[in-house]
């Protein structure tokens, strides 16, 4: 059915049958649309409004004032918030490359033909559907002072065994790696789906031409799955910034401030310090950063994505 006919509909006189059809259509979608406006539409618009107001204590709306860019100026002047922004950057800069390379590598190897393919596939996917908080309890024990990781380091004669989640230096990278472990299943399966769509003849032709394994991957396989890489890159960058649950479950921002990233900072500003508008401004900046990165990727894709 073409869109053009549709657009013309309201101008023409509708027959009774068409009217009845349209009415049924509205009846089907209206309940959803109302709920969508209440729980997504209004919150999204108010997120913008809040950032330019002076709301405190979340729901105290008297003495409301438009303060312009004050919240944003304050944000960029705050050392604490800038440090959190820096940690988010570090988080993303580790998370995105690691998850991209590992998920492709695993999918590539699995696709090359192994026994127990389905079992291995499920094993890698399992962390994705598990509850982060429950899993965090296990990791805290495994990586804790009496856990196997500590004992293993001692066993190998490491002089200062590290407690990764309690170390100022290692806590952030550790959290990132656990988060990679948790989410890799989705990227891995998506890659696997894409790899299964790469024509075998293409790879075989390269083989016959004497291309090395690395050349085959670089010149045949990677270009063939580049749309998937593009999609996963964008979604992984977004995931890497929405990391509140991972951090809160594993370290709650500790030790010190070493794992306070923007998502944690925003929630604290809003729900512990009750600076609603200031928190909204921070969230809006994060949204803008994601948008800018996505747009840059969108224009950059022409150079490396083959459709």
């Amino acid at each position: 059915m073409s869109t053009r006919i549709h657009a013309a509909l309201p101008h023409k006189k509708m027959s009774n049958l068409e009217k009845k059809e349209a009415l049924t259509g509205y009846l089907f979608v209206t309940p959803y649309l109302i709920a969508f406006v209440i729980f997504t539409g209004i919150p999204f618009v108010s997120a913008f409004l809040l950032s330019f107001l002076n709301v405190k204590y979340i729901t105290k709306l008297d003495g409301l004032k438009f303060v312009g860019l004050k919240n944003f100026v304050r944000m960029f002047a705050s050392e604490e918030t800038m440090a959190a922004l820096g940690r988010t950057a570090i988080y993303s800069l580790i998370y995105v490359p690691v998850i991209m390379v590992l998920s492709f590598g695993l999918a590539y190897l699995l696709n090359k033909g192994v026994f127990f393919k389905k079992t291995i596939r499920s094993m890698v996917f399992l962390p994705y559907i598990s509850n982060m908080v429950a899993v965090a309890v296990v990791f805290q024990l495994l990586l804790g002072p009496r856990g196997p990781f500590y004992l293993l380091q001692k066993f190998f004669g490491v002089e200062d065994p590290v407690l990764p989640l309690l170390s100022l230096k290692w806590a952030l990278p550790t959290v990132v790696l656990i988060s990679v472990w948790k989410s890799i299943g989705l990227n891995f399966l998506t890659y696997l789906g894409a790899l299964q769509g790469v024509p075998v003849e293409l790879v075989e032709a390269a083989q016959i031409d004497g291309a090395s394994k690395w050349q085959q991957i670089k010149n045949v396989v990677l270009p063939a799955v580049s749309p998937t890489t593009f999609f996963l890159l964008i979604s992984s960058i977004i995931t890497s910034m929405q990391n509140f649950t991972v951090i809160q479950a594993l370290t709650e921002g500790k030790p010190g401030q070493s794992t306070v990233v923007m998502s944690v900072n925003i929630v604290r500003t809003a729900f512990t310090k009750y600076e609603t508008s200031y928190a909204a401004a921070q969230a809006l900046v994060m949204f803008a950063i994601v948008m800018v990165i996505t747009i840059i990727q969108w224009y950059g894709q022409k150079k490396w994505v083959n459709y």
Binding site: V29, Y32, P43, T59, V137
Partner: protein, 279 residues
């Protein structure tokens, strides 16, 4: 012959490497499940035993039967919350998707485009406005503050619309001519035909609702109304020395999802590999 043998050996080597990586992925789960049935003192014993030497059910008993934490309440709350979310989604998402896929009405495509734009909105930006809205609707500190936003998941409206569009119009149009109403076609023809897509939606929705932490953490304040994700953290912090009980807690939280995964692997995995679920 020699080549084939070498290939076989290569395949086995790769298999072993991948199996080791796979076991590494599920090691925390193995450790957790094994520890559930060990006395706390044995949990961190070296060398690690995967099969409990002193089998016990004491930890599960501690979980549901202790003075401080109502693990049972949290469990029940999470079951009810997830159950209502799924029922609501099963109805509202499918009927909306049908409306956008099979019924002609003015403005349909424009409205759908606006919904699609909603896919781009990151959840983090809406946490405070939603708090204000929940408060005004009087659903703050109730499970409805978790259920209702989950029920308007745009993502699955989009997916199911795709699935419904793929079902040929000729089928529904023939039924229309025979005088069937849209609701009958939706219920008798489209829903049964799109069962795999709907199952995928229900499974992923189950996992997401069951595992949600941020929602209950921000919007539910009463301890007895809490959900498992928040509860397990409180419990683990409270029973800091009782490793066995902690692991039992983690296991019990994970069991429903793991069971669902074992029985419906096909839908989970095909949902992703076919490109249906992304994110």
């Amino acid at each position: 012959m020699n080549l084939r043998k070498r290939e076989r050996i290569g395949k086995w080597v790769l298999t072993i490497v991948m199996l080791v990586l796979g076991v590494l992925c599920i090691y925390p789960f193995l450790f957790m499940i094994a520890s559930t049935f060990k006395p706390s003192g044995d949990v961190l014993s070296t060398p690690l035993q995967l099969i409990p030497k002193n089998f016990t059910l004491m930890n599960i008993e501690t979980l549901f039967n202790n003075e401080y934490y109502n693990f049972g309440d949290w469990y029940w709350n999470t079951i009810v919350m997830t159950g209502i979310t799924l029922l609501l989604k099963l109805f509202i998402i499918t009927i909306t998707a049908y409306g956008f896929a099979k019924i002609r009405f003015p403005g349909r495509d424009a409205i759908f485009l606006v919904l699609l734009a909603g896919l781009m909105i990151p959840g983090d930006i809406m946490i405070m406005p939603r708090y204000i809205i929940f408060k005004n609707l009087g659903i703050l500190n109730t499970m409805w503050s978790l259920i209702l936003p989950a029920a308007v998941d745009v993502y699955f409206v989009f997916l199911l619309r795709q699935a419904f569009v793929a079902i040929p119009d000729s089928i529904s149009e023939a039924a229309r001519i025979d005088g069937c109403s849209h609701f009958t076609i939706y219920r008798r023809m489209i829903l049964p035909l799109a069962k795999p897509s709907i199952t995928t939606m229900l499974l992923f929705s189950f996992v997401w609702s069951w595992n949600d932490y941020m929602g209950p953490y921000l919007y539910i304040s009463d301890l007895n109304k809490q959900m498992l994700s928040v509860g397990i953290k409180l419990f683990a912090a409270g029973q800091a020395q009782d490793y066995g009980a902690q692991m039992a807690g983690a296991t019990i939280v994970l069991v429903p999802v793991i069971v669902a995964f074992f029985f419906c692997q096909r839908y989970f995995i095909e949902g992703v590999t076919s490109g249906a679920v992304k994110g």
